[in-house]
């Protein structure tokens, strides 16, 4: 936490301590830490003189905020109308079943975080799955699972049971 105190102070200074920029501040914090740790939010709220109830309200209102650590990879599935009509729910179900993860959550071995979002604006490529910023077009349950099984765990997510997951 000590070194992160500086990080939070930097973020607040970046936006001139303007509480109106709370959401960009939280976005910057999440960029650095991968999620919004409770203690960091407490410290930030303390510096900005924003009550914790409001910090928590904002952190839980917006879909892009995460209160739990994310995985080594970021997997986003578009659930916009066109993708939906072209079978996105089936792909989502397949991913959830195969990897025991829920939309908005992270796999147990922290291999990847799975998000279902509304339209990413690439409707011609439907159904669209984005892995670490790379767009995969026209995916189906089978191809999506193949892509995800090919993900390598990075240094960050090494835990004793990661080897099991890679098998």
């Amino acid at each position: 936490m000590p070194q992160d105190k500086e990080l939070i102070e930097q973020i607040i200074k970046r936006y001139d301590e303007d509480t109106g920029m709370l959401i960009p501040m939280m976005q910057d914090l999440q960029s650095e830490c991968g999620y919004l740790p409770v203690e960091h939010l407490r410290y930030m709220g303390g510096l900005l003189k924003v009550p914790m109830s409001r910090m928590f309200a904002v952190a839980t209102f917006y879909s892009s905020f995460r209160l739990a650590p994310k995985g080594a990879h970021e997997v986003t599935l578009c659930m916009g109308t066109v993708c939906y009509l072209k079978g996105a729910p089936g792909i989502s179900e397949a991913i959830c079943q195969e990897f025991h993860v829920e939309p908005g959550g992270t796999t147990r071995d922290r291999l990847f975080s799975f998000n279902a979002v509304n339209c990413v604006g690439a409707c011609a490529l439907a159904p669209v799955m984005i892995v670490d910023g790379k767009y995969y077009d026209g995916v189906n349950p089978k191809s999506a699972l193949e892509i995800l099984h090919g993900l390598q765990p990075t240094e960050d997510s090494t835990e004793t049971d990661t080897k099991e997951a890679v098998k």
Partner: protein, 594 residues
């Protein structure tokens, strides 16, 4: 390529810059423009750009070739898109092997072909000089040097511009109200929180032509008397954020944003805020709450935001496309703009045409064009030879329009009469295999998840509607539930706090109006006519198409299929669990849904 390092200190500087550019640069006689919008970039267009650059360098002809990255045309379905000028020769689905051929034939050969082009793909959105050389910021120069704020508003009034985000409110009237509101501190906001699934007009504009938005805001701020602007961009559009940031930074460097712009007393700057992932933040008061660092909950609009908006100050909020129209209106005049479109809906509109059409992408057409022309002529009709069933317009606040109304003209008012709306321009085309009850459920579910939850009718009402629709799609619906849905819809429309809640029932209402027989089939016959709702249709093997290969039999987990070599296979409906494995696996599409 001229580096934009000059700082403009007066209105004439812009014209001089353009002049110098033309005098100095040995402008290339051929230019190859490669689209690097999200859609094309995902298909490798950046690599194409590299290849074209190499080819240009290697070229030992007298012709000078220049490759440029440009913003999204909107023809994403056919990407990557490459355009060669002069001649506007348009190439689609370009792959690496094509580069050599295109270069040889068109760039050096000069074959001319003319196909549809959208104004967007003309210049590199990350180079401000491109925008200026094509006439950008000349409207701003005109405004600052020769027009009063009231004259600017009059010009927009003559143009008859109406908000492009869905509301369709007359822009000049909004600007004037904001200008006349009490207080010297005023804000202008650009609403880039394009949340309608299937709509990506604003994304294209922000990515491909960010300066048009900045220039529009500058002109609006000048007219209203504001010095601070915000662009609120949806979190899911990273490239739009990046290009806007670059554009703003370049504009600042050249003195087009900041203090004393072009040597006048007018100062204005813009800040970009990214959304946090909430559809409801597209609603103006929710957006402003978000800009204040709070949860995006709308508030009552009995006192309009032009009087009391962001932080209680007079605020003018307009959509991306609305702002992007302003520079042209000032440059070419309000009357020119009013000459396009219909009597009450002036100008053009960008539509995103997606779904079961041959060509999906963006189209910009004059208002008043019929749905049929958009879908057939521009969209190329329904793909895979299927029949048209409905077109969903206006996003989750809109409705579905059936074939009998395809000759309806698309503008602010006509589609509303049919129980839908033009909205922000999203058009989702659906073919005969689409279950309209499922479509209604999809939109209701979407709104249910995105509702802020503040007011009772939206939060509870949508839950109740979703509960009913879910039961109907499972074959558990009751006859009186259609009426219940209509009553709930009426309740939402009358009592919900914001536009999201008030229009939330439109998808259900419009499908009940035009496709009631599908609801009745689900409820009374426990059957889904479009054969999409699991459990509400059966699988049957067509004896004429069946080749008795036995694949279906092998894959049936409950042994419901019987058959031998050369004998058409049969599904035992009593045993069948409707899993659909046989339908998926049959190589002769002999398994039919009935």
């Amino acid at each position: 390529m001229i580096r934009a390092s000059t700082k403009f200190i007066s209105a004439n500087d812009i014209e001089r810059f353009v002049q110098e550019f033309h005098d100095r640069a040995d402008s290339a006689s051929k230019v190859v423009r490669i689209c690097i919008g999200t859609g094309c970039a995902a298909k490798g267009s950046r690599r194409l750009y590299e290849l074209f650059c190499e080819a240009a360098k290697r070229s030992d002809q007298d012709i000078r070739v220049e490759a440029k990255c440009v913003g999204c045309h909107g023809f994403c379905e056919r990407g990557p898109i490459v355009v060669v000028e002069p001649g506007e020769v348009f190439y689609q689905q370009v792959e690496e092997p094509d580069v050599a051929e295109i270069f040889r034939e068109t760039v050096l050969g000069g074959r001319v072909e003319r196909i549809v082009l959208i104004g967007n793909g003309r210049f590199d959105p990350t180079q401000i000089s491109d925008y200026i050389v094509e006439g950008g910021y000349s409207a701003l120069a005109k405004v600052i040097s020769s027009m009063t704020p009231e004259e600017v508003i009059s010009e927009v009034e003559i143009a008859g511009l109406r908000g492009r985000g869905g509301g369709g409110f007359p822009t000049a009237r909004k600007w004037r109200s904001c200008r006349e509101a009490k207080g010297s501190l005023k804000y202008v906001i650009c609403n880039g929180d394009e949340g309608d699934p299937g709509a990506f007009m604003d994304r294209s504009i922000m990515e491909g032509n960010p300066h048009s938005v900045i220039e529009g805001m500058l002109i609006g701020a000048y007219a209203i008397g504001s010095e601070q602007g915000y662009i609120y961009v949806r979190n899911e559009y990273p490239m739009a954020v990046e290009h806007l940031k670059t554009a703003i930074s370049q504009a600042r460097d050249m003195g087009l944003l900041g203090k004393n712009i072009l040597g006048s007393s007018f100062s204005f700057d813009i800040r970009i805020n990214r959304g946090g992932g909430a559809f409801v933040c597209g609603e103006s008061t929710a957006l402003m709450a978000s800009l204040e660092g709070r949860t995006g909950e709308p508030r009552a609009k009995y006192v309009h935001t032009v009087e009391s908006g962001l932080r209680g100050k007079p605020t003018n909020l307009n959509n991306v496309e609305t702002w992007a129209n302003i520079p042209q209106i000032i440059k070419r005049g309000g009357e020119w703009f009013a000459g396009i479109g219909t009597e009450k809906s002036k100008g053009t509109k960008v539509f995103s045409l997606v779904g079961n059409v041959v060509n999906t992408g963006l189209v910009e057409v004059p208002m008043g064009i019929t749905l049929r022309r958009i879908i057939d002529e521009i969209g190329g009709g329904i793909r895979d030879g299927k029949r048209f069933k409905a077109v969903q317009t206006g996003g989750p606040s809109g409705g579905c329009i059936p074939a009998e109304h395809l000759d309806a003209r698309v503008d602010f008012d006509e589609l509303t009469k049919l129980g839908s709306m033009m909205g922000s321009g999203g058009m989702i085309v659906m073919d005969e295999n689409t279950c309209m009850v499922k479509v209604a459920k999809y939109f209701t579910d979407f709104l249910h998840k995105e509702s802020c939850g503040k007011c009772t009718p939206c939060r509870e009402g949508l839950s109740q509607m979703l509960h009913i629709l879910d039961r109907i799609t499972k074959g558990e619906g009751e006859v009186d539930e259609m009426e219940k849905l209509e009553r709930l819809a009426e309740l939402l429309e009358g009592t919900a706090l914001c536009a999201l809640g008030k229009t939330a029932a439109n998808p259900v209402l419009s499908t009940l109006r035009f496709f009631r027989e599908e609801y009745e089939a689900h409820i009374l016959d426990r059957h889904c006519p479009a054969k999409e709702c699991r459990g509400l249709f059966r699988y049957q093997i067509d004896p004429e198409a069946c080749k008795a290969c036995g694949i279906c039999l092998k894959n049936c987990t409950v042994n419901a299929i019987t058959g031998e070599k050369k004998v058409p296979h049969v599904i035992n409906q009593e045993k069948c669990t409707l899993c659909g494995a046989c339908w998926e696996k049959c190589p002769f599409t002999a398994v039919k849904k009935v």
